[in-house]
Every structure is written in structure tokens, then in C-alpha cells.
Symmetry: C2
Subunit: 184 residues, 2 copies
């Protein structure tokens, strides 16, 4: 994983014609949120990734486990609708989870064609582990003082920024301040 610098090098940047600031257009602020959402989501999925790696699972397994845990009795078709992947993709990871006893299938009582999905105790436990680290990050993000005005924009900005690893927030903010035409 090699730490987490994010552009903290010897600021050896060039000043070229492309650096001439163009006016920071008003209401262009949601551009910043695009990046923050990228960084926030990256760190958000990074937490569970580390746990999953210990089990030989990936994000695809996580998503399946999560939804089956939270919505016991989900059918294959429903899961496909939620995840928006093909049944072939789903089947590969689902097979892993079933073979290793994290998920079980039960034939539907009303419709015997359906395979209802349930977590085993082991599956529930693993899902809880994964949920824990993500909920922790979210709880922290929500409890962190948003600071400043509470417009919808700054609330979202504060929320997304707080979703990023604390050690990295400064680096992200430094990067974003470097933007062409940034408000400095």
C-alpha cells in the first residue's frame, strides 16, 4: 500500500502559458465536488479492500455479500438489478461465496425456480466486519464539524472532504488549491 502521499513532491512545477489563470467562473464549484467524490469513494472502498484481501475476496464479493446480508432472501434477478452486472459476472463471485460457506441458496417456496440468497453466520460476521469500517468512516465524517456556512454546497463539500483519510485531506486540499484559476 506504500503510504499515501498525493502530490507532495518538491513542488517543481513549471509556469507556462497554460498556467495563466482563467477567471474562476461562479457556480463552477460543483467541479470541486467531482474530485472530492472521487477521493472520498476511493478511501471509502479502500477500508474494506484490506479486509477482503485477507479472505482472497475482492470488491465484487463485497457488494454481493453486503446486499445479501442486508436483504436476506434476495433473488438472483434482484441482485442483478441492483448490481447492474451480468449473471455470468455475478455467478463467478457468488460461487466463491457459496463454496466457502458465506452464502447459502434456498429454493423459493412460491416459485421453485428462484434461488433465494441468505448469509450464513460466517457471512453475516464478515459483512458486519466490512460494514463496521465503512460505518466508522461515515460516522466520523458526519460528526466532524462542517465549519462555516451551511449551504447545500458546503455541507456536501464538508461531508466529502471528511470522508477522505484524515492524513490526506491536507494533501487533497493542497492539490485542489493548485487548480488553474483556483480562488487561492
Amino acid at each position: 500500500m506504500e503510504g499515501a502521499p498525493i502530490v507532495d513532491r518538491h513542488a517543481t512545477r513549471e509556469v507556462t502559458k497554460a498556467d495563466t489563470p482563467r477567471a474562476a467562473a461562479p457556480a463552477e464549484g460543483s467541479d470541486d465536488l467531482i474530485e472530492l467524490l472521487f477521493f472520498a469513494y476511493r478511501d471509502f472502498v479502500g477500508d474494506p479492500d484490506r479486509i477482503l484481501a485477507q479472505y482472497g475476496f475482492g470488491r465484487a464479493h463485497h457488494r454481493v455479500l453486503h446486499f445479501v446480508d442486508r436483504y436476506p432472501g434476495l433473488t438472483i434477478a434482484e441482485l442483478l438489478d441492483i448490481l447492474r452486472i451480468t449473471k455470468q459476472s455475478l455467478n463467478r463471485v457468488l460461487k466463491d461465496l457459496i463454496e466457502q460457506d458465506y452464502i447459502v441458496q434456498k429454493t423459493g417456496a412460491n416459485d421453485r425456480r428462484q434461488r433465494l440468497l441468505f448469509c450464513t453466520p460466517a457471512g453475516t460476521a464478515l459483512a458486519a466486519d466490512l460494514t463496521r469500517v465503512q460505518a466508522r468512516r461515515l460516522a466520523r465524517a458526519l460528526s466532524d464539524p462542517p465549519e462555516g456556512d451551511s449551504t447545500a454546497y458546503s455541507a456536501a463539500e464538508g461531508f466529502l472532504l471528511a470522508m477522505i483519510d484524515p492524513e490526506e485531506r491536507a494533501a487533497v486540499q493542497r492539490l485542489m488549491a493548485r487548480r488553474v484559476g483556483a480562488v487561492a
Copy 2:
């Protein structure tokens, strides 16, 4: 792309022992945000994906193009720090973008080892197109009335929900209401 149902089928669910409601623990609300963040991010990247497909590009190309556009003169090392991928991975997509004239490299003036990255006009135009659809979604999410109490939690919930395709919000909310122990 085949529409976007998300669990709207003939509600043929079973009622089994696993459905016995377990008390919805208080302060467990950030669990909902986990899912909302998943759905929000899925739709958030879905917009640009459709545009990128027309160019034969993927998300990896998008990320490179985005950061080079916003931070002209970025070096390879800086980009690697931001994206957290290996130089081999970066090189593959960067090569595509350079060969097709969306990005150009310029040798650093201070340090001639560095390759400073810049967008061509075509690159800037494409980046603007991609940013536009994402900014549109964000602007809409921020302007949508959050409704109700304005705790940090419900602000985040409102923001994330508003990030989801409007046609699908109801389906997502229906799904989440179905959760085990949901507050009904």
C-alpha cells in the same frame, strides 16, 4: 443499457425465519449511507461512461484526462500519486490519449527528466463534456430541496439520494425500506 429497474419485480418474496425483525439499533443510520454512496457513485460514473464509450475510452482514460485538464503541467509521478496506480497501468491509457491527440507531453524546463502533461484543445473539450454531465448531476443534487431536519446525517442522506438518477430514487428507497429491521 436496458432501462433501470432495481428490484421492482412482482414482489414475490418469501417470509422466512430470517425475516424476523431485529431491533433497528439507534445510530446505525450510517449503514444506509453506505448503500446510498454505492448507488450515488454508480450513477455518478455512469454518465461519463456513456460518452467515453463513443470514443473507445474507459474510466481510466477519464481519470487521467480529468486531472491533466484541471492541473495542467502535472508530472507522471504526481499523477501516479493521485490515481494510486502503477506506472505501467497509467502508461497504457496515457499512451492512448497521447496517440489520439487529447494530451501532449512537454519536457520539463527545470528538470528535463520530467514529462509535463497538458491537454490539447480536443482534450480540454472532451474533459469539459465529461465534467458537464457530472457537474449537472451535482448541481441538481445540491439544488434539490433537502427536506426535513438538517442534521449532518440527513444532509448527507439527501445529498446522496439526490445524486441517484431521479427515476430510480423511488426504487432505491423501496429497496432500502425492505431492509431487515427497517423502520418501516
